[in-house]
Amino acid sequence: MFSWDKHWEVVIGLEVHAQLQTQSKIFSGSSIAYGAEPNTQTSAVDIALPGVLPVMNHEAVRLAVRFGLAVDAHINRTNVFARKNYFYPDLPKGYQISQMALPIVGAGTLDIETEDGTKQIGITRAHLEEDAGKSLHEDFQNETGIDLNRAGTPLLEIVSEPDMRSPSEAVAYLRKLHALVRYIEICDGNMQEGSFRCDANVSVRPRGQQELGTRTELKNINSFRFVERAIEYEIERQIDILEDGGEIVQETRLYDADNHETRSMRSKEEAHDYRYFPDPDLPPMVLEDSFIEEIRARLPELPEAKRSRFETDYDLNASDAELLTSERETADYFERVAAASDSDNKTIANWMTGELFANLNKSELSIEESPIRSAQLAELLDRLADDTLSGKTAKQVFAALWNQEGSVDEIIDSKGLKQITDTGAIETIVDEVIANCPDQVQQFKDGNDKVIGFLVGQVMQKSQGKANPQIANQLLKEKMK
């Protein structure tokens, strides 16, 4: 909660550039694989030699339509590509081919979870366009290198309505969108490599005012954390100016993560006149209904559907279902464990959202990078279910698995963690404990039931955690009758 909550209302809209997972570029056959040597993935078309022409990559169109269907949007049947003209060294043609008047995806929606419940965020549009190359300043003295490998990479620019009212809502939307594009496999979502990039339009207005305040556009905010921090900083900056009687200048600002501030990049007056006009090299592209219906039929299960299926099929509560379906990989992991393990679903959910998530977060790993594979977790939970392990020893095995010390059974053997379920063996320890703790035994006999916990603890300690606590409990009660 921020101090500005009472007097100011924050209005945020996001523009996301999602790199589409095609094999080749949007207008040429060059590869779009990340990390190749500079200028090795550049054809005559990509470097804009005289006389070359663009040819539409239909896979990019298919992926864009898939997104539109996933956010329940109108798909424009007639698509016009436009040239956005500006000079920059990493823009080979001197224009970017994009969509202006008729984007492929029209208005749609995306639901996010907020403190006040579910909120619907409007998606204004999503359009196809090509990426530019990269300018490399580091390796050259007083000169700039140009790498055109990225030039022509297909992008889907997803523009939201200004529907978000706090930095946390903006992040919630961004996370939801990020999960969605990965769910439907149109984008790998890799923010470090720039496959999923975000710009934010931010303005503030006095609460109750209808008209929007002057906005600024924040660029270079390429992690969830930076998005939140940059917007927070920008809100504070705008409110400071307004409270001092100043005016917000409409401009593009760059977020500097190192210094946690935004800096002016260019003002509205300096803004380019992009001179958009329909690209005469690409005739209007008309999408047939059958093409769209074919894509709809192959649409994978969407997060919302998966969440409700997890609640009904696995009998999970709403919170667990939400957590486990937030990323497709997480949901897949859960389903693999559930299929392989005899353990009950609630236990699987608890171990994933507890132990596994905590360790992944601490090591900053994604679930795909987890050192514990779903089969191993399933095996571990089976040993818990069949009473080989106690809750406590299971955590020890989990830690050893995390450190790649061997298989579940190897670890149990090598560490001697097999739970003692032999009543005779436990009985000996129970007798010992009763003999050593006369005071507590007396308290129990006087009607203090709670002291049983202490006595079970003593048994566990003496057995080095290996005694089955239920059996110890039962035996203690019997013997103290």
Partner: protein, 487 residues
């Protein structure tokens, strides 16, 4: 000196009366001693090697339709390993690393490329005076130095000067028909989309078409057979089956309905041209055609619309010439902005800069609707005009140009006077139709006069038939320039 057609050359080659090496050497020698400045680059070694290869192929039984035929390409077409300048300083030292589809197809058909012909810079011009590589002389100029027309001026001068049997050019607003008219040749602009634009340096993408310039309509048909066809690398190329454009050449014109658009015979048309066109119409009537006066009410708006649309597209198409990746870059600059400004100021000629400025202005915020959007509306109106006329007539006929070839420098200071030269050819490009210019006579001072023929979209076969039947009946197309008579 008499003309020699492609058809005759191919017959000689086929019957062993001449080898491709002999023919190629002969034409290379003519080019070497020519003073027309019709070529920007000549490639004797590669041409002779290709000719030798063609002779070997023929010996091995090849039946490629144009095997061993020397031709020249306008320097707007990229050819792998060959300097491709587009008539501009900015590409003076640019060697193309790939080959245009049209060139590839003609090579596959067996043609030998002798070199690259001179042209107005980036195909912008009607006199070839806008070339960085100097003016081209019209072989018909005789005592006075006259322009060959433009922008495919080098291509036309080379054929008229008999430096090559045929050449390729392009036509955006008349750039093949007007030089053909000025040089007494046959120039055929196909329908938009017939020829792939891949590898042809773009001027105005929605108007540009590759086109042959030849002595006869029959020769044009032979070249078009190998130039046209769908290309998956050009999304604007038409996806239809290839056809044999010689198919209908010898079909009689009985019952042909000719329309004479009155807008093509109004003020500004030279009297002698009007007279020769009238004579030509009489020839057609004698061949069984009927003639009717018609109107293209929106044609008067064509020039204005064209000079919005073409420069707008050009301003964007030419943005890639920025000194960053290839081509000319200024020597002295302090920052990026200066590098761009100086490179482009120094690299482009006056007319190119003028059109980039016009186009940039027409597309700019606040002016788009008034200029570009309106021009596109006009374009549709003109297209509709043609469509409705072609409900009544089979072909439209008129003059190609309002005047004959003018003298060098006479229009250079007045861009609008220069632009008016294309007043009859431009409406055709706006509508994407096929059209030809064929010679229909000489002026009193001995200059060729062009007759323009226009047919409906994709009706090239009809167009070529109407042209060919005229050439069977008359011999204007066989006349050679007086300068050649002396030689």
């Amino acid at each position: 000196m008499t003309i020699k057609t492609i058809k005759q050359h191919l017959a000689d080659l086929k019957h062993g009366q001449v080898s491709s090496v002999e023919l190629t050497s002969d034409y290379l020698a003519r080019i070497a001693s020519s003073e027309l400045n019709a070529f920007i680059s000549v490639n004797p070694e590669t041409a002779l090697a290709a000719a030798k290869h063609a002779d070997e192929e023929r010996a091995a039984g090849s039946d490629k339709p144009l095997l061993g035929l020397p031709i020249a390409h306008k320097d707007i077409f990229c050819i792998d390993g060959t300097r491709t300048t587009c008539g501009s300083k900015i590409l003076e030292n640019f060697t193309a690393p790939y080959t245009a589809t049209v060139v590839n197809r003609l090579s596959d058909a067996g043609t030998i490329s002798l070199g690259k012909t001179n042209m107005d810079e980036f195909a912008m011009g009607s006199s070839n005076e806008n070339s960085y590589f100097g003016d081209v002389l019209n072989p018909w100029g005789n005592e006075v130095s006259r322009v060959p027309g433009g922008s495919s001026g080098g291509s036309a001068a080379a054929v008229a000067g008999q430096l090559v049997p045929a050449s390729t050019g392009t036509d955006t607003g008349g750039s093949i028909r007007q030089p053909a008219a000025f040089c007494g040749l046959t120039g055929v602009k196909p329908s938009y989309g017939r020829c792939s634009r891949y590898g042809m340096i773009a001027f105005a993408s929605s108007l540009d078409q590759a086109a042959p310039v030849t002595h006869t309509a029959e020769d044009a048909a032979l070249l078009l057979n190998s130039m046209t066809g769908f290309d998956k690398r050009d999304s604007t190329s038409v996806e239809i089956e290839n056809e044999d454009f010689t198919r209908d050449l010898n079909t009689p014109l009985d019952g042909l309905k000719i329309g004479l658009p009155k807008e093509f015979f109004g003020e500004g048309l030279d009297d002698e041209i009007a007279q020769r066109v009238a004579d030509a119409i009489k020839v057609y009537e004698s061949l069984g055609a009927s003639v009717v006066d018609v109107s293209l009410p929106n044609a008067k708006l064509a020039l204005a619309a064209y000079y919005v649309i073409a420069p707008a597209e050009a301003s964007s198409n030419l943005a890639r010439f920025d000194g960053v990746r290839y081509g000319y870059r200024t020597e002295h600059y302090d920052d990026l902005g200066q590098m761009y400004a100086r490179t482009r100021s120094e690299g482009f000629g006056e007319e190119v800069k003028r059109r980039i400025m016009i186009g940039t202005y027409a597309l700019s915020s606040g002016y788009y609707d008034a200029y570009y959007a309106k021009a596109q509306k006009v374009r549709r109106l003109i297209s509709n005009d043609f469509d409705s006329l072609f409900q009544q007539v089979d072909v439209l006929i008129g003059p190609t140009t309002p005047t004959t070839a003018f003298t060098h420098g006479s229009r250079s200071d007045d861009p609008v006077a220069m632009y008016l030269n294309d007043i009859y050819t431009i409406p055709v490009n706006l509508a994407g139709l096929p059209a030809a210019s064929i010679q229909c006579g000489l002026s009193s001072n001995g200059l060729p006069i062009g007759l323009q023929l226009i047919t409906p979209y994709l009706q090239e076969s009809r167009l070529l038939k109407v042209a060919h039947q005229f050439q069977l009946e008359t011999d204007w197309h066989t006349l050679t320039a007086p300068s050649l008579e002396v030689a």
